[in-house]
């Protein structure tokens, strides 16, 4: 483990990118996921169609392809730049790719949450004269969110693990798994302790998230 700890600054740098990727992507994918869900249940057929096609398309593409498209297609081929330094430029493209991909899973999860809400809730809201946006905002989404806290936690854990794909060529964010690969390739640290160290790093990130969300889902459960 000694060689692992002499390179601890690289490890910490790697995980700092991982955490930043996960935080920003979680935020954006949640917002986009809620919008996609609202579109999916809206009275306007075209919005429903656009949302369905988007979710089915992106959900069924490999994340590697989505991120490659952001890196090689939008960033390199189109020459779109989001930040001055290369490190932050590729970082923001990775965030966009991860958010676009994860939003589909957030949306599917939320939609399953909406399906669990008793019909009477929406009927009562309508009979009170609430509009569609009011029904969603005040009645449906708050209850749906509470029922899907657990599954949303699983989506977040998957997102944290998926940040490793941002090391793909064309993006090459210096996140933890890429740092690990570099340490393997340069032979500066023995493989086995390095792997165990990075694995523990990821477990430290994912396990508390899992416990927190299962605690939260029990606490926020709607009693019916």
């Amino acid at each position: 483990m000694e060689a692992f700890f002499t390179n601890i600054d690289k490890v910490i740098d790697g995980f700092s990118w991982t955490v930043r990727l996960a935080l920003f992507s979680a935020l954006f994918s949640f917002i986009l996921g809620v919008i996609l869900t609202a579109m999916r249940v809206s009275p306007i057929g075209l919005l429903r169609g656009v949302s369905t096609v988007y979710v089915e398309t992106v959900r069924n593409s490999p994340l590697t392809l989505v991120l490659l498209f952001c890196g090689l297609g939008l960033n390199s081929a189109l020459g779109l730049s989001l930040a001055d330094s290369v490190a932050w430029d590729v970082f923001w493209w990775a965030v966009i790719g991860l958010s676009a991909y994860t939003a589909c899973f957030v949306s599917e999860t939320l939609r399953s949450g909406i399906n669990t809400i008793p019909v009477g809730q929406a009927e009562a809201a309508r009979s009170l004269g609430l509009t569609f946006t009011q029904i969603l905002r005040l009645i449906i989404i708050p209850q749906a969110l509470r029922t899907v806290i657990g599954p949303l936690g699983s989506v977040l854990i998957a997102l944290i693990k998926n940040t490793t794909v941002a090391s793909v060529a064309g993006l090459g964010v210096q996140e933890a798994s890429r740092q690990m690969k570099l340490m393997f390739d340069q032979g500066i640290a023995p493989v086995l302790p390095t792997f165990v160290g990075f694995a523990i790093g990821f477990l430290v990130l994912t396990l508390p998230v899992g416990y927190f969300f299962s605690w939260l889902s029990k606490r926020m459960a709607v009693v019916r």
Binding site: V41, P43, I44, G45, L46, L47, R48, V50, E56, T57, N60, S61, P62, L63, T64, L65, L68, F69, L72, G73, A77, L78, G79, L80, I114, N115, T116, I117, P118, V119, Q121, A122, E123, R126, F132, I135, I140, K161, N162, T163, T164, V165, S167, V168, A169, S177, M180, K181, F184, G187, P190, V191, L192, F195, F198, A199, F202, L203, T206, L207
Partner: protein, 327 residues
């Protein structure tokens, strides 16, 4: 709340007009996005590009991604036989190997986690939780570095280092190892949940017929668990197939790598990405449809199953007789 119509009233004349306006706005937004994508990859945006509302900007740019030359390679059969089909075969090979091995791994560890012996149950649980909790890509990187790791460990055990070339991990093997460990751990949890979900009366009845633990597991619990968990298993196999694309990162020549090679060779990154996405989506959606179909079939037959419980004696003598007689 399955019917979406519950969320809004049937539109009256005013609402219909409003919805029409929103539809038009959506259409406009949709076409603006399409136009930006078209113009962007047509190299008609940004500095040095012709003005937006000129015919030049909208005509297909021979240097852009939409030029016929860029799509030409996909009409050429050689592109398909040299790149796409070998890539697809590699993807399917990796997925098939990993699927079979992950199912075995999942079954073994799923059952081991249900063992009565703590010395089996706890290590199995630790293995499953470990591989489920860390990213798949790290497992693949580690599998690639295994020969290096072995050579670093051997001197510590007083063994001479391996001869170069005697132990190598190919890219295919690394992908299969990674996919097996990760998806196997997820499937272990699926199997465990499925076995736990079989009604307790089933195993009690089997024990009272004199079956031992292995027989109860093999003849009573696993068949029912696998049947009820079939949709979840197929869904996980879809994820497995999709994750073979991670092989791209370690230069495993799978489908995505083939299309990336096409993209660099002919300078047609965007057409290649689009066709690649269509192939992946077609495979995954057809597998997902299979999962949905299995789920529906399951739901239908389990309704029949509750009717069947009215006559348990005939069912019992029919199905439980055979395993008893073989042992």
């Amino acid at each position: 709340m399955s019917a979406q119509q519950v969320l809004f009233d049937i539109p009256g004349p005013k609402a219909r007009i409003r919805h029409a306006v929103y539809t038009v706005l959506t259409l406009v937004g949709f076409f603006v996005v399409l136009a930006i994508i078209y113009l962007g990859f047509n190299r008609s945006l940004g500095e040095g590009a012709p003005p937006l509302f000129s015919a030049e900007a909208w005509a297909v740019n021979p240097n852009g991604q939409w030029a016929a030359v860029r799509w030409q390679p996909f009409i050429d059969p050689a592109t398909w036989t040299d790149y796409v089909i070998p890539g697809l075969l590699n993807t399917l090979t990796a997925a098939l190997w990993a699927a079979v091995l992950a199912l075995v791994f999942g079954l073994v560890f799923g059952i081991a986690r249900l063992s009565d012996h703590a010395w089996i149950r706890i290590p199995a649980g630790a293995v499953v939780e470990f591989f489920r909790g860390i990213p798949l890509l790290m497992l693949i990187f580690f599998a690639m570095a295994l020969p290096l790791a072995v050579n670093q460990v051997r001197p510590l055990l007083g063994l001479p280092p391996l001869q170069p070339g005697t132990f190598q991990v190919s890219a295919l093997a690394a992908v299969v190892i990674g996919l097996t460990l990760y998806n196997g751990s997820v499937l272990a949890e699926v199997f465990r949940a499925g076995i736990n979900a079989v009604p307790k009366g089933q195993s009690e009845a089997a024990y009272s017929l004199g079956m031992n633990k292995v027989q109860v597991m093999w003849w009573i619990l696993i068949p029912q668990a696998v049947r009820s968990m079939m949709p979840a298993i197929v869904a996980q196999l879809v994820i497995l197939l999709k994750d073979t694309a991670l092989g791209y990162i370690i230069a495993f020549p799978e489908l995505l790598r083939s299309f990336s090679l096409i993209g660099t060779r002919y300078g047609n990154v965007i057409p290649a990405a689009l066709i690649c996405a269509v192939i992946y989506i077609a495979i995954n959606i057809s597998l997902s449809r299979l999962a949905i179909w299995l789920e529906k079939r399951n739901a239908r037959s389990s309704k029949g199953g509750t009717k069947g419980t009215a006559l348990p004696t005939t069912a019992a003598s029919g199905t439980f007789g055979a395993p008893g007689s073989t042992t």
